[in-house]
Symmetry: D2
Subunit: 492 residues, 4 copies
């Protein structure tokens, strides 16, 4: 989550959800399933509901879902169609309700609510163009650009205006859109960068669109079947069914591998891949690469992201798993968030605690999914060092992150990446420099080829690996990032 610069436009990594329920319970169904996407955004949450007349009511708020969207507020909102959103927490930016989604606007085609996951790479240009043309912005989020483009269109129908608007944006996006006249839509960019799935109950009585399939587990009625929304597919959902338009000629698929490594919940299918199983396979792949004496250690998975990977690593090494790190179960809500100001203030204790007895005199293999800035793993290592382990080895379930991302995830600028600070490539010397920096006795990364294997993509054709390689491989790059991009390239 970082600022592209002068215009206050933010990158986002969020969760989107949509429900069509002709029985009028769309808001309640959505509110019940939305917590399954809480891990994709903790800063704010929102919902927009269309009643049978098409009138749209929105509720949004700062904080976790129970605070932002009290169920008492939602139960009184009957409606056949609803969309919802969870927004990721930013650092160094005071959250504003104005930026919480869905955005709601009234224009040419009635009232439209939009919720968005992804990053438009030409948002800054479009925004500046619109401002020069006399347009007005209330928020700092990409969705408002799309709303303006829709309302600007002279197309004869909302659907055509939406298609026209999407023709102008570049980058990654998964959108759910609710229009007072035209109804419910979802759409995914042509590269399939971000995840989006659609499921339905028997006889399509309820239809649900979500960022991850885990949302289907929280529904009041089980889904009968589900599939991915295809890259470039625009789906119009109506009571009892849906129909698709394919917006683009075939593009290369470039789904974000980092969704599998870190973002998604382990019980989700994402891009057709079962997430927990993928992480376990990463662990098994890494085990194959490690020196034999590693099986004399004990794997200490760092919860929650390192669990599946650590279990796979222990399986591959045939060595025990050890409960070194426990996650504070009261910390999830990040301490109490005051409803009036949305500030996080009160002490709920440490996020992770360490069992001294599981450390003393042992050869630990800390297992985590990835290293981005290096600050978390450094603290995790320091907190076990205090209790005198024999050795602290670190095993990471992905390659070094060497380039910032322009499409999906919340990477800091290249300068903030520990790998870039330590040379910026995949070479031995970089890894050695990182090892010293974080204070580990040994440091192992999963090689890129092994990652591709674990992802079932040996040819590297389905996923975007740019953060590990610096190569966008066909994805559009923001214009003001080109210089930046080149400086990354020089390292490689």
């Amino acid at each position: 989550m970082y600022c592209l610069g002068r215009d206050g436009c933010l990158k986002e990594a969020c969760g989107v959800l949509a429900v069509c329920d002709p029985q009028g319970g769309a808001a309640c169904v959505l509110r019940q399933a939305l917590p399954a996407l809480q891990h994709r955004g903790e800063e704010s949450a929102g919902i927009a509901v269309a009643d049978s007349s098409g009138a749209i009511t929105r509720r949004r708020g700062l904080g976790l879902i129970p605070q932002a969207l009290p169920t008492s507020l939602i139960q009184s909102l009957p409606g056949e169609m609803a969309i919802g959103h969870t927004r990721y927490s930013t650092s160094g930016h005071c959250p504003r309700v104005e930026d919480a989604q869905p955005l709601l606007s009234t224009g040419h085609f009635g009232t439209t609510a939009i919720a968005h996951n992804g990053n438009l790479t030409n948002a800054t240009d479009l925004r500046n163009g619109l401002i020069e043309a006399g347009f007005t912005f209330e928020s700092a989020v990409d969705s408002e650009v799309i709303a303006h483009l829709i309302n600007l269109s002279e197309a004869s129908s909302f659907t055509d205006a939406l298609v026209e608007a999407l023709g102008q944006v570049e980058g990654s996006y998964c959108l759910v859109v609710l229009n007072s006249d035209a109804g419910l839509f979802c759409v995914r960019d042509q590269y399939g960068v971000c995840p989006l799935v659609i499921g339905w109950t028997k006889r399509m009585e309820q239809i649900v669109v979500a960022s991850e399939s885990c949302a289907f587990s929280e529904l009041p009625r089980p889904v009968h079947d589900w599939r991915e929304v295809e890259p470039g597919e625009l789906i119009h959902i109506y009571p009892g069914g849906f129909e698709s338009i394919y917006l683009f000629n075939s593009s290369p698929r470039r789904s974000c591998i980092f969704q599998l490594i870190y973002f998604a919940r382990p019980d989700s299918f994402v891009f057709g891949v079962p997430v927990g199983d993928f992480r376990r396979r990463c662990g098994i792949e890494l085990a194959k690469q490690l020196p034999a004496e590693c099986c004399l250690g004990e794997v200490a998975p760092i919860p929650n992201s390192g669990l599946a990977f650590g279990y796979g690593l222990a399986e591959g090494l045939n060595c025990p798993v050890r409960l070194v790190y426990s996650r504070n179960q009261y910390y999830g809500g990040r301490a109490f968030m005051s409803p009036e100001v949305g500030r996080r203030s009160d002490i709920a204790g440490k996020k992770i605690f360490v069992d001294p007895c599981a450390v003393r005199g042992r050869r630990l293999i800390l297992a985590d999914d990835s290293i981005v800035r290096g600050s978390t793993i450094s603290k995790d290592i320091a907190s076990v060092r205090r209790h005198n382990p024999e050795a602290v080895w670190v095993a990471i379930g992905s390659p070094p992150v060497v380039a910032p991302c322009f499409w999906g995830v919340d990477f800091s600028t290249s300068e903030e990446l520990i790998a870039t600070q330590c040379h910026g490539d995949l070479a031995e010397s970089t890894i050695e420099a990182i090892r010293q920096r974080i204070g580990a006795d040994r440091l192992y990364y999963l090689p890129l080829e092994a990652l591709k294997k674990a992802a079932g993509d040996p040819l590297g054709e389905r996923f975007c690996y740019q953060c590990f390689t610096g190569d966008p491989a066909g994805l559009p790059v923001p214009t003001d990032m080109v210089v930046y991009q080149k400086s990354v390239a020089k390292h490689l």
Copy 2:
């Protein structure tokens, strides 16, 4: 947590904490460390602070610590000595602020704050006697009985009055007591049923008493050393030091084994035993008892209580650990708790979710620490059955619970125990009946002898195993429980 009957007197399982800081920061130190005892009580929390004049201020509230004791309320409370409390959640009883501790009362010896963990087995008799003598009760907690006994005493000093009061109570207790004139005390019953430790920084600049040693990890300054408060030891703490009185002739030690199995945090030492390591050893012991084909399964630990045990079991069986169950990290605060009424209302999603891909076609060995009523494990089994495992075996890190507890933990009446419902003993037939009831394909309990071995107590002399045997082994039994007790005995 259940009602002893006609008088509204409740059993409790709580956390207590005390801090002596001559620099005047006792309240802040205590508030910072109290979250380490949150797992011992989620219903309410409280603090009482004595300033340099002895004047005592109390704050208490319903809910988790950040709600019940906002740091802003605490920072303005200077004082050299403070005590704190977390109270366990009861079922079927609407929490009342009146029952939150510390209790505060004014009498003969000035103002006294008391916080209590344990269960007085003669509380009902004492309470009834006091009421008949014309005394008045404001709460339903044992501490108020003790407060009355202190104020009734004709002893010449507070310390003598406290000793006199403790001479009249029976059962288990760990108390921290703060008196406006006499200062800070802690005391543990003669059997050592509940845990209590005392630690200090260098030169005894800060002295801290806590239910579990994990509280020492949250202190702003590290403890220099610490030890258990001995059974029957009354400690008077003053700035820069403390001194002990031993209240009783030697009694048998009867520390509650269930604190190790379930209640304590894995990074604590409790009764001198490192908790996480104990649980791992239980897993290794059980593995020795299992049939050989179990090593073809995969261990699915049920978070959080089954983790250490499950890892030990996998180590003993030499089989993989599998991320089947994930704990919802947003659930810890049990959804948003409304500050005004303390009710738990809003939806934060499921507490535990299951990865379908880790289940389908596999032979799972679910690992958990214990089965009490059987309702939780039944749900956990049902939630994996939905995804078509090959087999669901269940391994439990302790023996069947066959008798209710009168001293420490929150067991329902004998009738509610699944083991009692299924015959009430440790016999094969009981276990088979439980297996059918919970829906497992196989069910393995840790035998009692193996448990004793894991606890380093092969002769069964240090711990109370009454909940597994029905034998109180010298601990006092509530008078109104005697009939009850006999009916349990008949099963054995």
Copy 3:
């Protein structure tokens, strides 16, 4: 509202209310009528309800009634009998929930809730005696003394125990009492210091006891009839009726004249006197005493307490009323009171504002009910002086207050009274000194004889005028106040 000294025991001026409704709606009826007593206590409010089994539930909170007792909390409390209380705001004392009434305690006679208006003159002695006897106090309010005395009694019935307890207390009191076994009671001290009325709907379907008759106007069903509770009368209320016991031989009636002058709402009957009309008559009486040129002025009543008096004064003088002072209608709730900490913080503007145009060049006669400390009238005068009036004359609807009160109202110690500071009697020189102190051009007080006439008590036999005379006229005086009393007497 002031502290009697070493023991933390507070004086109180409060509102009490009780409802008997066999249809089970007692809590709702009470909650609806309680705001009519809000002016008698703004610091806290509480309610206790007995359901059909006798079980008593209490709710209490800090702040105004809507905050302290949200209707959502009350609607879920079915019950046939309920009592309620509003507590007066103290200065220099941080409000504590512990001191909010009704108090609730469990003892010999089951559970008892007590709410109290008045002041026990021997509360300190009783309290100290109880503490020495080993009793314990949780609050600083008189009701807890009464609760202890009831529970201490060896009488065979609750009613007898209540009578016995009342035999031991001295001073003024109006109590409403709810006992889990014996039901609902109200009682008034033998002198009738504080007001209490009882009313009923047709066929006594609902029976309501209240501090002032204005509460009857807020009932969902109108009262059919009502009367004063007599001095010394103990009433036992049951579904469909009530019966009385007279506790004392005849005493002189000593109702507090200050309730009529200041405390009561103008639409109440208090001690059989219509309050608003009494105040108007005070104005007419004062007009008779004023020099003739006063009718060239314009009366500026200070809202709200000076309105009725000012209108009467203008009527008597035959001169106009002028809207000089307006009360800020948004100030009533004294700015927003944060529900979590009960502190009054946020700015809602000034309590009273002045119209400059109604002041400039005019001869104003400010009209108010009384002067106690003199700080309010000084500010009111200063705020009109700013706008250049020709003259500021002040007319007060009662005599100078020269002695503190031990029974009913919140007077500061004698030292804080402006009259005492300015000599302490009714003489000309005292009034001249006060005039200079407050900055008025002229100052007129209502003479004592004129006050008696307005109150329909020409012989001075029905009301207590001690605050104007220093003569308790038979009312018991606190033992630790005797010295004090003498020093007042010397001035007279």
Copy 4:
């Protein structure tokens, strides 16, 4: 406050405020003075502050000022310039934060905050035109139209763009505008419909613009001088001074007489007229018209709006004022407003209460400022009838309201006016029909000519009397109101 129809555009009657304080305390000064405008809008409040870099931060919320803008939120906002707004409560419309002002938008000329009092008569047309041109609306308030017009302008400076935008809007407006580059502005429409004043401390160290002069009384430092902002005057305010542009050729002045009659606070000067004094003069004027026997009655002013008028009436009739109606001082904050949802729920008692003793057997002359729908006066009459007065006469300080207003105040449609329902003119028969409807024994209105005299406008050239006559007298009328207008005209 009513809906103009198909487009959701609302009429508004609000308070605006602006502060320039080069010392950086603009937000605090503004927050302190804003409560003086609370009576102009109770639905929501907001503030926007520009810091020294021009960056604008906005806070807004539903409810009264203490809830909507807690001082803790404001104190942390340093800035040299600030604008604020209070918004009037609507009926039948659920308040939305989106419609709270100031509106904030980013466009061509940086970020702009706008707060608005008044009504654009061509807002619907402009809005529809903008929507057809592809523009997007987030709120339902007129200010957003103005924001769009500014951003659409191709002018070279913000000031020119603002002037250009104002050239396109018709109707009434008082605006305060804060732009990140160009600074602070205020402007008033050419007819001077709504009130606006500008004041300054010595050496213009602080400059304040407000809807009413009463805001100057709440400033931390007193104003040195002040004047009206002239109709058609655009003022640019900078640290230490301001300068004016006059936007229009001379128009007739058409200030809203209803601001004087009802809206403004009695201590304000509005349109150069002292409000309280004006109302008193209305009372004296009406007294002259009444039959002689009226002086045998007693005037019962209905608080708060009828007080000054009633006092004048009693002065004119030479009869007493009587405290019949008292305003509940705890009602101002309209009961507790829940911070989370902004709904008004909890019971604080009745808004106005009646003293039965002041009613029984008396000949009352109820005095109020105006009758619009007739529902309030009907209730007030019914509440005294209950207590058996001899007669209930009603005296109203303005003529019958016969036409809805398109520029300033919150009149319902013509159909909802009681006068329209009862024939729709000023004739005797209309008044007789109203009298019967409201249940009065007699009903007197102030004749139009007497009103003009009291307002110092005998020729009817300075004020708009359209609501009493149906004649807009030169003010622009909304296009979709023309038909409507004609139907009103027919009655006259």
